[in-house]
């Protein structure tokens, strides 16, 4: 039964990673850049929700929506001001700019909200369901997290497959030049991708802090790195890959903590990643592109 408990908390953590990984993977798929500031957008989302709920006593759902709005605008603003001027620049320059944005967000948060840890109130309460005479406990946060992940996945799959904007996104990730020739507004599409990714980051931030309630300006960095790993794990650029990578990473992390060692859990996670990449160099669901001469 403890195994099942660990599995469920692993899936819950993995769902959060998956939602964050979606932001990385979509942006990578379209703009071909590693957006290192994504982890910090999570943190901003969590802070917005925290203040909305605890200071202005808005209902939790309104807090989440507000956080999503702020993060969406923030994501689009960052893209417009920092990344768009560098569209033609070498990818390393964009990477360093993303790191600059990450520092900027962290330090702004530090100035606005101080480094004192905030205790994040769970947006869905602290209730839990007990099964099998109390042997199996599932908290409400876990259920909401997993449900949110499933809904987001279904919605995104539908969105990219059926809407005009979604199709434009896929076209841009395939070939930007050809997409432009077909009359697709590439800049608007990229902007939209950042908006969606950042909005999802806000949800991930709220869920993350509901499960692990300490909120500091650097809250987003480690989950950010892990989710980035998850995106690569599943094959960066692939939406189902982000889900698979996120879930696996979460489960492996919790199992490593439970059965191997708490301190070495990160090492185990990254070791698994390395082994997977050696066997499948483009990730689990990534497309292996053969180079032509």
């Amino acid at each position: 039964m403890t195994f099942l408990n660990f599995l469920i908390s692993g899936i819950s953590l993995g769902s959060i990673y998956a939602i964050i990984a979606l932001g990385y993977t979509m942006v990578y798929g379209i703009a071909k850049m590693l957006n290192f500031a994504h982890g910090d957008v999570i943190m901003v989302g969590a802070y917005i929700c925290f203040y909305a709920v605890s200071r202005f006593s808005l209902p939790p759902l309104a807090g989440v929506v507000l956080a999503m709005l702020v993060c969406t605008v923030l994501g689009m603003l960052v893209e417009r001001l920092a990344y768009k001027p560098l569209r033609a620049a070498p990818s390393l320059a964009v990477l360093i700019t993303a790191i600059g944005v990450s520092y900027f967000l962290q330090n702004t948060a530090l100035l606005l909200w101080s480094s004192n840890p905030k205790v994040f109130p769970s947006v869905v309460g602290n209730g839990k369901i007990e099964m099998f005479g109390g042997q199996l406990t599932i908290s409400h946060v876990t259920i909401v997290t997993i449900a949110a992940c499933v809904i987001i996945m279904l919605a995104l799959t539908w969105f990219t497959g059926n809407t005009r904007m979604g199709k434009a996104m896929r076209a841009c990730s395939e070939d930007k030049g050809a997409a432009q020739l077909m009359g697709i507004n590439v800049n608007a599409t990229i902007s939209m991708t950042f908006a969606i990714g950042s909005g999802l980051a806000a949800i991930a931030g709220v869920l993350l802090c509901s499960a692990y309630p300490t909120l500091v300006p650097t809250t987003g960095s480690m989950p950010g790195i892990k989710a980035f790993t998850a995106a690569v794990f599943g094959g960066i650029g692939s939406i189902p890959g982000a889900l698979l990578g996120g879930l696996l990473l979460g489960v492996i992390e919790i199992f490593a903590k439970a059965y191997i060692s708490t301190q070495l859990s990160d090492a185990v996670v990254f070791a698994v990643l390395i082994v997977v990449l050696l066997v499948k160099p483009a990730g689990l669901l990534g497309k292996q592109i053969h180079e032509k001469v």
């Binding site: 001027p85 360093i96 330090n107 990254f270 390395i274």
Partner: protein
């Protein structure tokens, strides 16, 4: 007799010259430097070496490494451990430091070789993420490693202190506490010498047959392979050299502080060094040196901004990247440069 030097040689000598000049100037001004700046001289040297060594991987080999701090960590821990273990055998501090640097470089080189075997099979962003993963693994291992020394030799244990040292034994690496009680034997002169050695190694590698092969692989690995270059061999050569130099930098860095912890060498440190390399220009060693020195001093210079200094640092970083890489801004700036005006006049 007029000495005719080619462009590369002149550029390399200019780089040596700048470093020597900076060293001499700082030695002369030493009395008038503020104490905080004086304390930063050794870290600056360490970061300069880090930047040059990462530039070898990123600029010359053309592979993005996000785990360079891992090699620094390996160098720091092994080098300092060696120096502490040999405290009674080698009483002369400079010699002990040299041995520490050599041990740190050797172990980091070995780590680079072991990591290079899987890493160099991948390419692009996948390679970058695996180096990131190795950096995190190295951090986790040093956070849980316990090393002690007693009359029976070195004792190792992982996760918790099970070294069971004999009477008179001494615990050197204490897991998450790192190494404490380090004798601060790093000096600015030692740092300067290490920078010079690093430059000599890197320039000689780059301007050799092997260096040209490495750059050929960077530019087009398929073409390089088809003319008979052993891609993995040359990639490994650059990667291991880079790792070993980073290890030496780590030892130098660690010997400047009384305690050193594994968490000091995390992802952020790797990124910091990468920022030096990209700002200084990929493949441009002098640029790396200047960027590393300037950006290490910058937060110190920004002290007047107090709480805002890291914010200002971030904004400066973004603005520099935008101005140097955006085509529109670049052409706007070039209107003011003298060279272009002459061109227009002619």
């Amino acid at each position: 007799m007029k000495l005719k030097l080619n462009k590369t040689t002149r550029k390399n000598f200019a780089t040596y010259g700048v470093v020597i000049l900076a060293y001499v100037l700082l030695q002369v001004m030493k009395g008038s430097l503020s104490s905080s700046l004086k304390g930063m001289l050794v870290p600056i040297c360490a970061y300069v070496v880090m930047a040059i060594s990462l530039n070898l991987t990123v600029g010359i080999l053309g592979e993005l490494s996000l785990g360079h701090a891992g090699f620094m960590s390996v160098g720091a821990f092994t080098g300092v451990t060696a120096a502490i273990a040999l405290q009674n055998v080698i009483p002369a501090a400079p010699l002990r430091l040299a041995v520490g640097l050599a041990v740190g470089a050797a172990f980091a080189g070995i780590a680079g070789f072991l990591i290079g075997i899987p890493v160099l099979r991948l390419n692009g962003d996948y390679l970058a993420i695996v180096t990131l993963a190795f950096g995190e693994i190295i951090k986790s291992i040093f956070n849980n490693l316990y090393v002690g020394i007693d009359k029976n030799g070195m004792q190792f244990s992982l996760l918790s202190d099970k070294t069971n040292l004999a009477e008179g034994g001494k615990l050197i690496i204490e897991g998450p506490m790192g190494i404490g009680g380090i004798q601060k034997i790093s000096t600015f002169t030692a740092g300067f010498i290490l920078v010079m050695i690093t430059l000599i190694i890197v320039f000689n590698l780059v301007n050799s047959r092997a260096g040209r092969a490495i750059m050929a692989i960077r530019d087009n690995h398929i073409a390089a392979e088809s003319i008979g270059l052993h891609v993995t061999h040359y990639k490994m050569m650059a990667f291991v050299t880079s790792a070993a130099l980073a290890g030496a930098a780590g030892t130098l860095f660690a010997m400047n502080y009384s305690t050193i912890m594994a968490n000091k060498f995390d992802f952020n440190t790797s990124i910091l060094v990468l920022v030096f390399v990209v700002l200084g220009g990929q493949g441009n060693m002098l640029g790396s040196i200047v960027a590393a020195a300037a950006l290490t001093v910058l937060p110190e210079m920004l002290r007047t901004f107090a709480d805002y200094r890291m914010l200002v640092y971030a904004i400066v970083l973004i603005l520099v990247m935008l101005t140097t890489n955006n085509a529109t801004l670049r052409s706007w700036f070039s209107r003011f440069s003298l060279k272009n005006r002459e061109k227009e006049a002619a």
